[in-house]
């Protein structure tokens, strides 16, 4: 009855030199299920990582300074715009945990949660917000070490968009725990527009209610090191989760996005799409997309996709989708990953219509991100994202194009 088809398999890591890195992702096979990974609110359960651990091996741990130690030295400045009915309050950490939050899954998250008080954003049941909740989180001092835990709770049938807009300089470790009520519709947008020196480690969890719709959209353009883990579990059947991300790394930036969709309940959906562009010698991006379909999660439909566009020589993108399937009674499961440079056929086609090469490249990059940018439900943020990407591209000195990309497509269809 139950089919165990473990297609966990890292795909490509490609540098601008166009060769696959066999020394990292390609040679790696996970030795255990994602389900066995530690999840706990106890700091002692997570030793400070050395960088050799599976979940830290891509991250420049040395650059994280003291951020993985306990003991915060400051806070970010919060500027909030709350629609009517939405409240922001604080509560003791112990009370917050009693709400049934997903526990931290790495050292950064457990440290972020190691605070006395937790901030609670409450969206009442059946509230349909016409305006988004806007929370601007501003760092004024890179020497400040900040740990924060935010809980976003949306009641049943609530409909809301929450924007977390990160700005300035800080060493920031963050846990955001989203609890979505039955049949609610919640979109969390997290924009990382940090200064070049900021360090941001984040775990954004969602426990998705029965028949609820949840979207997490990350937009990462700034920061020296950003590592954002977006995770999903389901509190009941019928949940539908979409995780989207856009990132653009320049020289000196390490932008890492991880997602873990834990299909622990029957008849839920998940769709994960992250797209990134890289330019500059030391630009570095990482995407790790884990999906686990547990034996009880019959009727699951999931897909993970990552695409990276390498604009200049020297940049490096790692892309690792992992799919574990413990039941054959599913609607579908698959993943795809492709990292490459400009497709010279596309450029030839556009240039053959009179469009100069640089403009053709801008058009291709804009088009590359368009399907995700379009999903940002805030017009001003859509414009801001588009303008920021244009600004990045204005400084690009492009590498030669190539047709070589590496793609993996696996699709498991419903068993007969």
């Amino acid at each position: 009855m139950s089919l165990v088809a473990d297609t966990s398999r890292p795909v490509d890591a490609v540098t601008a030199a166009g060769r696959a890195h066999t020394d990292s992702a390609a040679a790696f096979v996970p030795d255990k299920s994602r389900a066995e990974r530690t999840a706990s609110f106890d700091v002692a359960d997570f030793p400070v990582p050395s960088g050799r651990e599976e979940e830290w091996r891509f991250t420049p741990v040395k650059k994280l300074r003291g951020l993985l130690e306990t003991g915060a030295t400051g806070r970010l400045r919060w500027e909030t715009v709350l629609p009517e009915g939405v409240t922001l309050s604080t509560l003791p950490a112990a009370d917050a945990r009693a709400l049934g939050l997903l526990p931290p899954q790495d050292r950064a998250a457990v440290v972020a949660a190691d605070v006395d008080t937790v901030t609670l954003l409450d969206i009442p049941a059946e509230a349909e917000l016409s305006e988004p909740v806007r929370i601007r989180l501003v760092g004024d001092d890179l020497e400040q070490r900040v740990h924060e835990h935010l809980v976003v709770r949306a009641g049943h049938h609530a409909k809301a968009t929450v924007l977390l807009a990160h700005r300035g300089s800080a060493q920031y470790s963050q846990l955001v725990s989203v609890l979505t009520g039955d049949a609610s519709d919640v979109t969390l947008v997290s924009a990382q527009r940090w200064e070049d020196d900021a360090i941001h480690l984040a775990q954004h969890d969602a426990l998705v209610g029965r028949d609820a719709t949840y979207r997490h959209i990350s937009l990462t353009l700034g920061g020296q090191v950003v590592r954002l883990n977006a995770n999903v579990r389901y509190a009941g059947p019928g949940g539908d989760a979409t995780l989207l991300g856009v990132y653009f790394a320049d020289s000196g930036q390490h932008l890492e996005h991880r997602s873990f969709v834990d299909h622990n309940t029957a008849h839920c959906k998940s769709h994960v799409t992250y797209k990134g562009a890289l330019q500059g010698d030391t630009a570095r991006t990482v995407w790790v997309g884990d999906a686990l379909i547990r034996a009880e999660a019959e009727g699951t439909d999931t897909y993970e996709l990552n695409r990276n566009l390498i604009l200049t020589d020297g940049a490096r993108a790692d892309s690792v989708p992992n799919l574990e399937i413990e039941t054959g009674e599913i609607e579908g499961a698959g993943h795809a990953s492709a990292t490459g440079r400009f497709d010279d056929l596309q450029l030839f086609y556009l240039q053959a219509r009179g469009i100069p090469e640089d403009e053709a490249k801008r058009l291709v990059v804009r088009g590359f991100f368009a399907d995700i940018i379009r999903e940002i439900p805030l017009a001003d943020l859509r414009d801001e994202a588009t303008a920021a990407i244009e600004h990045e591209l204005a400084t690009t000195e492009y590498a030669a194009s190539t047709t070589s990309t590496s793609t993996t497509l696996d699709r498991t269809s419903k068993e007969n």
Binding site: D343, D344, L345, Q346, F348, Y349, L350, Q351, A352, R353, G354, I355, P356, E357, E359, A360, L363, V364, R366, G367, F368, F369, A370, D371
Partner: protein, 253 residues
């Protein structure tokens, strides 16, 4: 009045066994208002001729000249050739994800003309051209060639031909993969462009059926990288009956 002049053109491509010569000395002159059909068997180098004139980086010109009104086309980049007035309707148009047809057309028109088209007349022109080619208005908001059927791709190529108004158009197997209705619509589109702008056309095809709708003034038989016979429309009729066998025998002899 424009003239595209090709003289002694030789072109090679890089293969695993080193460079391979595909075009072996092509001479051809196309004037405004003229339609030249280039016919030949598969693998004879017809498409290579088209892509070499447009400047595809895969092909290396090893000898000869290509000029448009005396200007050296081979010295121009791909986009400069287009702005000089050359247009290549591709056999396999390329998908450009996330870029809508309307955005693409406006960007191309702006690049070709050196200024943005006047909004009101442009919208009207696009609508009219799409209507003539029996294209649904919703088409303008789809991404370039993404999920287009074969016929839609070819209509989209001819739509560009009509809107960008080049001096010379090279149609690379525009008839391939079209059913008879689509072939008729696409051919009408080409004829209309010819009537409106005195376009010179280099029509590359394997089969004669498109020549029933687009009348050629000259027919050139292309075999093994060069033109082996030239004539008027009657040559196409003869090819229709006899096929290419007699040329192939010659070539291999």
């Amino acid at each position: 009045m424009s003239t595209l002049e090709i003289k002694g053109l030789t072109v090679s491509v890089q293969t695993e066994d080193g460079p391979k010569e595909i075009l072996r000395g092509v001479d051809l002159t196309v004037n405004s208002g003229e339609t030249h059909a280039i016919m030949g068997p598969n693998g004879s180098g017809k498409s290579t001729l088209a892509y070499s004139i447009a400047g595809h980086p895969k092909y290396t010109v090893t000898g000869g000249t290509v000029t448009l009104d005396g200007e050296d086309v081979l010295a121009m980049s791909v986009d400069e050739r287009a702005r000089a007035g050359l247009f290549l309707a591709m056999q396999y148009p390329v998908e450009v994800p996330g870029v809508t047809v309307s955005n693409f057309l406006r960007t191309a028109k702006t690049a070709i003309d050196g200024e943005a088209p006047k909004l009101r007349t442009w919208v009207k022109d696009v609508k009219q051209a799409m209507n003539n080619l029996r294209m649904d208005p919703a088409f303008a908001e789809r991404n370039v060639n993404e999920g287009f059927s074969g016929g839609e791709k070819k209509r989209h190529e001819i739509l560009q031909l009509q809107l960008l108004k080049p001096k010379m158009a090279i149609l690379d197997e525009t008839d391939s993969g079209l059913d008879i209705d689509a072939l008729r619509i696409v051919s009408e589109g080409v004829n209309q462009a010819k009537d409106e702008t005195d376009l010179g056309v280099l029509l590359i095809t394997h089969y004669t059926r498109i020549l029933r709708y687009i009348q050629p003034d000259f027919v050139h038989v292309f075999v093994d990288g060069r033109i082996v016979e030239e004539g008027g429309k009657e040559l196409a009729d003869r090819l229709e009956e006899e096929g290419y066998d007699r040329f192939l025998t010659q070539a291999s002899a």
